[in-house]
Amino acid sequence: MNTPDPRRPYVRPMAGWWRRNPFFVEYMVHEATALFVAAYALVLLVGLLRLAQGEAAWNGWLDALRSPVALVFHVVLLAAFVYHCWTWFRIMPKTMPPLVIRGKRVAPGVITACGVAATVVCSLVVLVVAWGATR
């Protein structure tokens, strides 16, 4: 459109949109968990590099993980991952085709609960396997 519209429709600005509604604030918070997921991927990548550099480097990395700063950081990471998990499964009923079991649609809350339950099961399995392998 090159000629200005004589009806002069008014287009409102989008700046600051996410602060206008609590629903959007929560959305931005759960999107921000990505920063923590990236941070954890980088922590692991550094660990891999240290592992390749030899035993002394690896033990240095393990020591670094034991520092209070690292521990607090991982508690924050854990909170972010748990929140990611909850919000991931909370939206899942909206993102998948309807699940029909015995002629009835499975309720959204049930799908979310199954997702969270799957995380609990996976977590326990990983913990038990790791415990068994390193005991």
Binding site: A34, V37, Y40, L45, F73, C85, F89, V126
Partner: protein
Amino acid sequence: MKPIPRRSNAPVFWGLFGAGGMLAALFGPVLVFMTGIAVPLGFILPSDAMSWAHMQAFAQHWAGKGLLFVVVALFMWHAMHRILHSLHDLGVHAGAALKIACYGLALLVSIVAAWVLLALGF
């Protein structure tokens, strides 16, 4: 109506985002707990669970390699896709340069992870 725009290449990145997000939801919390809390404190898991010998053995096994690679790479692809969209949400719109920066970082992390894991030998 404007002519229909080009077909989107998003499925590739969306697929990686989804796979990484699912992995992070199912296994992220327990992995962070193990590597960042339980092992450093010797709590639940023995404090030598991630000893040099254990981790060498784990990273030299093909299955261990695969798991480590998938976790590091997919977490990164998931995160960078989401960060790219969050920047768009904040008004920083994704031009080619920003896309290359975000997905490029994920690709770089994947390549480094693969290279290190191969260098660790079998």
